[in-house]
């Protein structure tokens, strides 16, 4: 298969970037999208041109490193799945494909297709944990957890932290990411002691990092490689309201 590529090139955070045109020929349909970029980079290297910087690590959709916008869609056309799980057989032979980084104000561009996502780490650092000191845990089966809640917590916890939700959102909102962590921990009895302070602090940092608000466009859910449901955003709102009410009642 042959493809025309338009790829975002930007030398560093401060310099302006632009789309550059490339061509790749004779690509097997079983090549993954990132392998296709590897092949292009080998060609560039052979010509003495600087390879295109892009990040990936596990290449099986779980580490959340890869972060490309393909033809305007975060992670490309094969949902649900990360870019590293996208195969060239999903494209038409001869197609022109535009490749850009995730575009979110809170994820500055480092180089070409590489972005800086430490804002997501800071949201978790604000309270996305259960403060269980190592060694202080009771016997694992001492607190039964209803299977339904455990399964729902797992669905939320499956988030891979890629940031596609924010990239797809017209408001650049990280509500799906934040709601997944808040919901995961709020659904488990172990998460209850810090339930109110967690949601308040995480939302505060999320706002301070410059992410936008949710206006229910559901774009996040549509591109999420881990299929996190937007209903967790509703849960985040409930958790937040509950925490605010409890605080105002002096609890």
């Amino acid at each position: 298969m042959n493809f025309k590529l338009r790829i975002w090139r930007q030398p560093n955070r401060k310099s302006p970037g632009k789309l550059a045109d490339y061509e790749v020929l004779d690509i097997s349909p079983n090549t993954s999208f990132l392998e296709m970029l590897d092949i292009l980079n080998e060609t560039l290297l052979g010509r003495g041109d600087e390879p295109i910087a892009f990040e990936s690590d596990c290449r099986e959709g779980i580490c959340g490193t890869c972060s490309l916008t393909i033809n305007g869609e975060a992670h490309g056309p094969d949902h649900p799945g990360a870019v590293c799980e996208l195969y060239m057989r999903k494209f038409r032979d001869g197609a022109t494909i535009t490749v850009e980084p995730f575009r979110v104000g809170s994820f500055p561009i480092v180089k070409d297709l590489v972005i800086e996502r430490s804002a997501l780490d800071r949201i978790v650092q604000a309270g996305g944990f259960i403060s269980a000191r190592t060694g202080s845990a009771p016997e694992a089966n001492s607190i039964p957890v209803a299977k339904h809640n455990a399964d729902l917590a797992m669905e939320a916890a499956a988030c891979i932290g890629c940031g596609a939700c924010a990239a797809a959102c017209p408001n650049g909102s990280a509500m799906l990411f934040t709601s997944a962590k808040v919901s995961h921990l709020a659904l488990l009895p172990q998460g209850h002691p810090e339930r109110e302070s967690r949601v308040l602090k995480m939302v505060q940092v999320m706002d301070a990092e410059g992410f936008g608000n949710c206006t229910n466009t559901y774009e996040c859910e549509a591109v999420c490689p881990a299929e996190i449901s937007a209903s967790f955003i509703a849960k985040l709102n409930r958790e937040y309201a509950r925490a605010v009410l409890q605080r105002s009642a002096g609890e």
Binding site: P51, I62, V145
Partner: protein, 640 residues
């Protein structure tokens, strides 16, 4: 040699060693802990849990990872589960059985005391993870669920769908985040360790390079902990993440740390077969699939091109069930991998290139219904469909073995300290617990045991004597190490040759896969030992690395790693040659039983092989640590 080559196994009965060792180890008081700095390299299950726990204890921790966030360490990709001897199933499990299965699974090439401690601690890990909010699978009663894994006859594996590694890692990432917020841990993402600094024959710091800016920094500490994972990517194609590498441990080896059993590499039986030349990595299908999937190939060569549905049951060879009736499809990894290679070598392999076997769920779907199978393995079936375009609910999966895990690693004593005082090594980066073959669901167990429970208890034993001894990062040893790192980078950038990095890495990988892969023999290993130095010379003469150091330069970052693989590969082959026996994953064709199983030589080789760097261009020196078995009786490993 720097330091001491003494395993320091505590005296006393096996079941009391760990308790009595802790009772007699030195401690560091809380007010002194904040004066001590610890470097942790790596943020996976071992590094992340160690950094978080040491931070909690009040030490000042610096944690480094090459990923852009600690949450992306490769532990995240582990699928199947984590073992513990809770015996929640009432099926006869116990700490002793978990210990015995693990040491037998490792073909009696690991230390009794270490493995027993691991089995003991496993239960604490499950407690800790549940308290952190890890959403393990549960039964309708609300209690924790278990499943079986290879090499065991009990159900002791805890799991979170097919994403157990992810959930355990996020648990320790969150604990780490808590400490970062508390200011006890400073995180250095996208930062790679390029050298170990030794001052007065003790590990006192590292040299790092920021992958973002190219900045090279010197970091001094009171102790250095390496948790940098395994070196499976030496084979180029493996199930490891693209970034996984040997650099941190190999450079520590070049500074005097011993490298133990480097040839013990695990080839996992259930991976998606290679589809083409441009493949950049292989994808694992969790071993848990073998709980319900049946492995088979056609009995006759002629049938291998037929669609699987057209081959009648009578014409199928369920070779694992046939050869190992008591473990069947749950035979351990090394044995299952070799059996797959054997049937493919006979010309009965399926799929393109004939390098594949079927993993068939038709019977399980008939017995349990598609819904149950979907609930158990749904995400794995989706991954399979994405990669191959095939629906495994309808046609059997095709699988083939692939490089997955490395049992070898830096040599450590019972305290997880290498021979270099002050250098601790945890998780996959050390050699300690899995012998010659690791059983499923025990890598996660070891990583977390080391990080949460072992290291925090053994590190003070060293640190107690180190108060006020931290050198300045401006001392001559640091300046020299920095200069060495810069010189190596300059050398790589100046070659400006014609061949790409990937072409060297691929060639090395293919060579190792053929000569030092699933089976090895003397002649092949000698050939590899001749070819690797030639390839290395060509690399240093003709590799093309573009750009400069002071930049986000991915070619440069990978060039350093490939350069280390090219040296390390030679050490692997030397070790494989020297170990003139078969043991676990190390199968020397010269040493097999009449029915093709691994034949150990306990008299000569019941030992850990620990290699000391002899200088560039000089042969390494072999040290042997004899393995003494006081509790278990060494037997021919049988899963029949």
């Amino acid at each position: 040699m720097i330091g001491s080559f003494d395993a320091k196994i505590p005296p006393g009965p096996l079941a009391q060693k760990w308790r009595s060792h802790r009772d007699h180890s030195r401690l560091v008081s809380p007010n002194n802990r904040r004066k001590l700095e610890i470097i942790v390299v790596g943020s996976g299950l071992a590094g992340g849990s160690a950094a978080a726990t040491l931070g909690e204890l009040g030490y000042r921790v610096k944690c480094f990872c090459f990923q852009d966030s600690p949450r992306r360490a490769h532990s995240i990709a582990a699928q199947g589960g984590i073992n513990a001897a809770k015996n929640y199933q009432n099926d006869g499990d116990s700490v002793y059985r978990l210990f015995y299965d693990t040491i037998k699974g490792g073909d009696f090439r690991s230390r009794e005391a270490n493995v027993y401690r691991l089995a003991e601690i496993a239960n604490n890990i499950i407690d800790q993870c549940v308290a952190q909010g890890v959403p393990f699978a549960r039964e309708y009663s609300g209690y924790l669920a278990n499943r079986s894994f290879g090499g065991a006859q009990v159900s002791r594996t805890f799991y979170a769908r097919g994403q157990t590694g992810q959930q355990l890692l996020l648990g320790c990432y969150q604990a780490l985040c808590r400490q970062i917020a508390a200011g006890t841990v400073r995180m250095f993402p996208q930062t790679e360790m390029l050298d170990l600094v030794i001052v007065d024959r003790q590990a006192k710091g590292i040299i790092t390079r920021s992958l973002r800016s190219g900045n090279i920094e010197r970091h001094a500490a009171d102790a250095v902990v390496l948790a940098s994972g395994g070196y499976g990517n030496v084979y180029y194609l493996s199930t490891n993440a693209r970034g996984s590498n040997v650099t941190a441990t190999y450079r520590a080896y070049k500074r005097g740390a011993l490298f133990a059993n480097p040839s013990f590499t695990q080839i996992h039986p259930t991976c998606i077969p290679v589809s083409g030349e441009h493949q950049s990595k292989l994808t694992l299908m969790s071993e848990s699939l073998r709980n319900d999937g049946r492995v088979w190939v056609p009995k006759r060569k002629e049938d291998r091109e037929k669609a699987p549905g057209e081959i009648h049951d009578a014409d199928r060879d369920y070779y694992l069930e046939r050869k190992y009736p008591s473990y069947g499809n749950l035979a351990p990894r090394d044995i299952s991998s070799r059996a797959a290679k054997e049937v493919c070598d006979e010309g009965r392999g399926v799929g393109p290139g004939g390098r594949g076997v079927y993993l068939d769920f038709a019977d399980a779907i008939k017995r349990l219904g598609e819904e149950t199978i979907r609930e158990r393995y749904g995400n794995l079936f989706e991954v399979y469909e994405k990669i191959t375009g095939e629906d495994a609910y309808k046609v059997p999966m095709r699988i083939y073995p692939a490089v997955h895990y490395t049992m070898g690693g830096l040599w450590v004593d019972y305290d997880l300290m290498s021979n270099v005082p002050g250098l601790f090594v945890i998780g996959e980066a050390n050699f300690s617990d899995h012998g010659a073959n690791r059983l499923g669901a025990s890598a996660l167990m070891q990583g977390l045991a080391d990080g949460y429970f072992v290291l925090p208890n053994t590190l003070p034993n060293y640190l107690a004597s180190q108060m006020g001894k931290r050198p300045s990062p401006d001392s001559p040893e640091f300046l020299q190490a920095e200069q060495d790192v810069r010189a190596k980078i300059d050398r790589l950038l100046k070659i400006n040759g014609t061949r790409s990095l990937d072409s060297f890495h691929r060639e090395l990988g293919l060579l190792l896969w053929e000569k030092c892969g699933m089976s090895r023999h003397e002649k092949g290993l000698r050939e590899a030992l001749q070819k690797i130095p030639e390839l290395r010379q060509e690399f240093w003469r003709d590799v093309r690395v573009l750009g400069m150091n002071e930049d986000f330069n991915q070619s440069l970052e990978r060039a350093g790693r490939v350069a280390d693989f090219l040296e390390f590969a030679e050490l692997m082959c030397k070790d494989a040659l020297e170990r003139d026996e078969s043991a676990g994953a190390h199968f020397r064709e010269e040493h097999q039983t009449s029915d093709g199983e691994a034949l150990r030589d306990d008299e000569r080789h019941a030992a850990v092989f620990a290699w000391e760097f002899g200088g560039d261009g000089q042969p390494p020196k072999l040290h042997r640590e004899p393995l003494r078995f006081e509790t278990v009786h060494l037997t021919q490993r049988s899963y029949k």
